[in-house]
């Protein structure tokens, strides 16, 4: 356990080196929020409620989504893992008593502490502009259930990124796959719109996909878009996907190693 704690600390230090990148990303986040504000503001100009929710509730949803991305979203872990494989750096992990998944997870956690701090700072800067539009529910159970939901979301996000990173065992360039999955995740994860606005049949289909639990699910609990029963059922499905994706990651890692040639490094 100590070695992963050390990886976490080293991860914190190395991520602080990229503080300007996180700072710039936070700035983009602010502009993205302005786009959301203008688009949905225009849509709500002729409707007091869309999908049963007010403009404030919808804007709150997007703010929560963006904050979650900074705290628990995978950014470029897939790229880092693929670089480890491509450059042969993975070889050093094969010779040491260290689990690569756990090592990467601890570095991911460290990176999210740093990016979360920057996201939080960006939120503080943006708050004066959006303060009057934020509307969070008061039920305590939402925040209690949101904690395991966010933890499982982080595992799902990381496992998917880990899986795509491991594709470097078979492919020279994985960027195409990564951006392909990003498009699917952005839509089906609820980052581009609240998924409850989808047609009923489509919503009932996507709620059984892992992408649903990458952002929308915890955000919908926190912002009051879903009720208690839905949240409890969702947690069970989310736990299943987190477990399944970790197993898939382990399986792909083992298959990939069989394919790997540790020349040089």
């Amino acid at each position: 356990m100590t070695k992963y704690a050390q990886s976490f600390i080293v991860g914190l230090q190395s991520n602080l080196v990229y503080r300007w990148n996180f700072g710039v990303r936070s700035l983009f986040w602010f502009f993205h929020l302005v786009v959301v504000f203008i688009l949905w503001g225009a849509a709500f100009a002729s409707n007091s409620r869309i999908g049963g929710f007010s403009f404030s509730q919808t804007l709150t949803y997007f703010v929560v989504i963006f904050v979650l991305q900074f705290f628990i979203g995978a950014f470029n872990e897939d790229y880092q893992i693929s670089e480890d494989i491509r450059n042969g750096l993975i070889n050093q992990f094969l010779l040491k008593p260290i689990n690569y998944f756990a090592y990467r997870l601890s570095v991911f956690a460290a990176a999210r502490v740093v990016s979360g701090a920057f996201g939080f700072l960006a939120l503080l800067v943006a708050l004066p502009f959006f303060r009057h539009y934020l509307e969070l529910p008061h039920e305590a159970w939402r925040y209690v259930l949101a904690v395991p939901a966010m933890a499982l979301t982080a595992i799902i996000q990381f496992s998917i990124a880990y899986f795509f990173g491991l594709l470097a065992f078979w492919f020279l360039d994985i960027q195409g796959f990564v951006i392909l999955s990003m498009a699917i995740e952005n839509l089906l994860g609820g980052q581009m719109l609240p998924l409850d606005l989808l047609p009923h049949a489509a919503f009932n289909f996507v709620r059984f996909l892992p992408f649903f639990y990458q952002a929308y699910f915890p955000a919908s609990i926190i912002t009051g878009r879903q009720g208690f029963d839905f949240a409890v059922q969702g947690l069970a499905i989310q736990a299943f996907w987190a477990f399944a994706l970790v197993c898939l990651a382990e399986f792909v890692w083992r298959r990939g190693l069989r394919h790997h040639t540790a020349a040089g490094g």
């Binding site: 990148n21 710039v24 990303r25 983009f28 502009f31 993205h32 302005v34 786009v35 203008i38 688009l39 503001g41 225009a42 849509a43 100009a45 002729s46 409707n47 869309i50 999908g51 360039d173 195409g176 796959f177 951006i179 392909l180 498009a183 699917i184 952005n186 839509l187 581009m192 719109l193 606005l197 989808l198 047609p199």
Partner: protein, 265 residues
Amino acid sequence: MAQLAHYFRIWLASARYSLVRAMMFRGDLFIWSVVELLWISVNVAVILVIYSHTTTVAGWSKYEMLLLVGTSMLIQRFLMGFFWSGIFEMGRNVRSGLFDFTLAQPGDPLFMASTRKLELDGLLNSVAAAAIVAYSAWKLGLHPSAVAVMVYFCMVACGVIIHYSALVMAMSLAFWITSSQGVEGSYFTLMEFSRLPREAFNRIASVIFVWILPVVVVSNGPARELLYGFEPWWALGLFVAALGWFALAVAVFRSGLRRYTSASS
């Protein structure tokens, strides 16, 4: 005239090289084409979902909005197809010193850096974006004349020049800062605004995104041309903005180039 022919021959050689390269990596071309197509589909899906809950956004109907989004994507696909790879690599090459090779080539450095590679996937998907525009125009019952279509494409070309200039300026930062990694994100964030109707912007947002940064004008100008016929002020505004932004981009690039000190830069 002879100089124009010289540059055309250089561009033709680059295009031929890109074509041969794309045919060598057909799998790559297929994946990236699917990626681009998926992103277009995601953007269209978002519009369709929003309009399933409202009839108008800032006074724009569903198909008017699709026409606007299609125009914005058309401009972006042209930029991706013709210039993206070259300019994106320019940022990295300046840092690594590989930009020396561009300087040693027989032509203006900005031209050589920008036109080094054609991306066929971007160009192929411009057909999909154009199809969205054509479908929307058909659903709206528009029957633009051949001249109107020509004016539309001239305005799209002005839009491409503005996008190109913004990208050149963003990537030219590599001459001043040690790492331009992630700077391209600023371009994508700004271009999100080009998918919004001009009427959705009011007060400060209008001043910044319509008048100071022409990110809204680039797509709204051509779209309005198809929807409402030729509007001289929009056309003139777009033309002047394209000239101004291009001149500014060239000035920024040249100023940066004076700082370039080869591999130690």
